[in-house]
Symmetry: C2
Subunit: 302 residues, 2 copies
């Protein structure tokens, strides 16, 4: 069962399930202004790999627990990811007109509504986490509260938002590798670490197992971002669904810019190996799917 084909099947299954879950995430009887609801749902259902939900559900299963109890956490992290994309695309930030081949949120609904849709998605992520015990009797209030705390840290001022702020403040020629690691770690890896730890917490993971999931997430998350930078140089823009060479055009500081392409490719391989080793050392009962996922992300061309 645990071959690359079954992993692709799993990712496709999670994608379909998440699309269904996310389309129901804002109760239909909630009195939300129509345009705000439309703006939130537009970006939420615009597609994407649903990679963070894949990490949540795979981590819960790796601990030997049914992934059903983790679905609302998987939705929550996708809301956080989606809000961050909406705000990142704003004219004051990256000023992007298109994402995944569709007009960005502010191009469709205007800047004010895009800011509010992001705020509402961020806030609603905490609704989903805090109401998990109402839907899943196996999840205790204490566990849901622990996940709330972790989400507020990994998505906040010294997590994802911190990484985004450091990215905006970074200047080519002044940013060294340490600063770039801060940006990549917080902007990208932190939500992956959260996804893995939250999946573990739902599964009842012990501290040693959580630690292993965290190190795995840090390594794979950093590797994922470096691979993104590499694909921006050597990737196929049809497979990627976005323009390549954009980092160079925008004078972005990247791993290939600082270390060269070959060393960056080696770094991705090294980080993937380190992540897999941490997982194997961490007494995770069923690590196979996460191990395959690490390989799959390292060798992706999309």
């Amino acid at each position: 069962m645990q071959d690359p084909e079954s992993l692709k099947q799993f990712i496709a299954d999670v994608g379909r399930m998440m699309h269904e879950e996310l389309s129901l995430v804002l109760p239909s009887n909630w009195d939300v202004p129509e345009t705000l609801r439309a703006s939130m749902m537009y970006s939420l259902l615009a597609g994407g790999k649903r990679l963070r939900p894949v990490f949540v559900l795979a981590a819960t299963e790796a601990i030997g627990h049914d992934h059903k109890d983790a679905i609302s956490i998987a939705s929550a992290i996708e809301l956080i990811h989606t809000y961050s994309l909406i705000h990142d695309d704003l004219p004051a930030m990256d000023n992007d007109d298109f994402r995944r081949g569709k007009p960005t949120n502010h191009r469709m609904f205007g800047e004010a509504m895009a800011i509010l849709a992001g705020d509402a998605l961020l806030t609603h992520a905490f609704y989903l986490v805090s109401t998990t015990p109402d839907r899943c009797p196996n999840v205790s209030p204490a566990t849901a509260l622990a996940i709330t705390k972790e989400l507020s840290i990994f998505a906040g001022a010294m997590g994802m938002v911190g990484g985004q702020a450091a990215d905006i403040l970074s200047v080519q020629g002044e940013t060294d590798l340490e600063r770039l690691d801060y940006i990549h770690t917080h902007k990208t890896a932190d939500l992956i670490v959260f996804s893995l730890r939250a999946g573990g917490l739902i599964g009842g993971a012990r501290p040693q197992q959580l630690q292993a999931l965290e190190i795995f997430g840090q390594s794979i998350g950093l590797a994922f971002q470096i691979q993104d930078d590499i694909l921006d140089i050597i990737g196929d823009q049809h497979k990627l669904g976005k323009k390549t060479k954009s980092d160079e055009t925008q004078n972005k500081v990247t791993y290939p810019y600082l270390m060269g392409l070959d060393q960056s490719i080696q770094k991705v391989e090294q980080l993937t190996r380190l992540g897999k080793e941490a997982l194997l050392d961490g007494a995770i009962p069923q690590p196979q799917r996460l191990l395959l996922l690490a390989e799959y992300l390292m060798s992706r061309d999309f």
Copy 2:
């Protein structure tokens, strides 16, 4: 003790305490980019009446509980209020250059950093709520989780953000009283209702008491916003600390615009009376301070 002077003293004390609390709210050992930290703290410590913390702490005491256990919830709601002001002031929203006599956040730190500071403050509010049991052993994880859920509802898509979206979408001549009530209730009253209910939950309030606090908050919150609209017409701009007649200049739909000034003043009095009655009917052990607060807000000129 429960005279208007002691109420003013209480408000002043809460203001001082909150200033101290808020200045420590982002741990100094957290690795937050300096400019992001500065941007968050700039708006957080820019002053203001700290009215929502006053409601939280007064509600906890009204239930007969020490307000010490409610301080981090009071901080959390002030973070939410502050983030909403930063985002509201943005060029894409109200485009305000000054607030409380100081340059707005985006005028000081740029639009991108202001958006991120708002996002980080919103996220950090949930950190403060979710870590309350770590600081206050009297507060159970279940209570903290219940407050997390309420915050996500009252501050979210059908709460404060929903009210803000409805306000942006409103057009003079097309907005009737029902729509205006939606805007005022959600944009303003919802955070006041949350503050009262959260204070009640920390104090161990029974359902009947929570219900009374909620109705009180809805009435007082709506009265507060109508009074704001009235003061924009008849107020003294030195006492208010902001320009008057701005609603008229911006073609804003307000209560005085729809009902006239006299009827608006009567409405404030009627809502205040209703709120006080609900509180007296709700078996609240020590309602005096909240009753005085309702009177005080109705007759304010600032």
